[in-house]
Symmetry: C2
Subunit: 197 residues, 2 copies
Amino acid sequence: MHGYELRKELTAKLGAIRAAISYGSLYPTLRRLQAAGWITEAAETSATAEEVPALTSRRGRVVYTITAEGKERFAQLIAQAGPETYDDTGFGVHFAFFARTDQATRLRILEGRRRKIEERREGLRDVLGRAAERLDAYTLELQRHGLDACEREVRWLEELIANERSGRAPTVPPGTAGGRREDNSPPPPGESRKERP
Amino acid sequence: MHGYELRKELTAKLGAIRAAISYGSLYPTLRRLQAAGWITEAAETSATAEEVPALTSRRGRVVYTITAEGKERFAQLIAQAGPETYDDTGFGVHFAFFARTDQATRLRILEGRRRKIEERREGLRDVLGRAAERLDAYTLELQRHGLDACEREVRWLEELIANERSGRAPTVPPGTAGGRREDNSPPPPGESRKERP
DNA sequence: CGTGCGATGTATCGGTCCGATACATCGCGG
DNA sequence: CCGCGATGTATCGGACCGATACATCGCACG
């Protein structure tokens, strides 16, 4: 992909959990990745393969391609999910690769995220319990809203964890909008067997 | 207050909507505010007034006090809420001052935030509608969760707006935990009459 | 028929903020 | 009596954002 496309893709995948990545972050990062050998850059060659709709000779786009080493490294990065993984951005990034990792990793990430949110939730409960009389009604209202959001996320994570343990793909609750079921489900319980080369 | 105390206070007030502010941000900001004349710094004098519980001669704390000019400026800042106000942090900060502004400002901020969240919501609906078949089941699940969160926040904001319009203080739904009703309600519909000096 | 605007696209720069770290004191429990 | 967690001030490097600049393309609208 080229940068612009990559950003749109990322926005589509992570838009639910964080804002779009800025170009001031994207392009330097791509160059760093290239310098480290994870990806390669290439000025667009006119006709590589499939241009079905509009092949109107675009301007100089730069196409980035992941290398074998890059795939290796990325897979490792996702598989060894540490606690730093569980903030919004980190969780989002790892979640974006869920369909490409094994169940054990998915569970580790989901449970780490749950712990993180539970901590947040306890903090809010503390405030609402202990410091309630010191705060004005508006602030209390904000805390209550935040607490509610935490509780909902924990419940959501618990559903995902339960599904994961039972080997099922994430269920699509019939209530919600837009959820037409397709066959793009993640790999059924079969694991990837790569450990450490 | 001194820095540490200030941070705890901010965390208690804004913990529901953003992470705690870092010291690397707090102390330089305090110094900038002092340089601009919004606040004053003072090394702690041993006995100013009320030390009821433990007056055990602390180490050199720095006490920051808002100046008259600072109050003026802050009030202006809150009152002239622009669109930049409506991201998480900006909204949180302005919300923390709700009990100290007038109803018109409160409404402006709430409605701005609502618009912001509605845009986010539309983005997610677009993804779920248009790009659904391109995304894996996990990503779709994340979008659905995010969409749900947006819808809930919009509903929450709408309640606050309705209450605001009817001149009532924010209601405390009897269901939630920790919400003991106290008399620290915001100023009843009476406005502050400051416009621009 | 032109023209202007929004989408596509690459790129940089200044400034803000975080995360880690350092250092010092105090009270408490083991 | 010793260490650890809370209180407290402070800095530094690095990551990231927001604004900006520049260039091309297609389409809508006058």
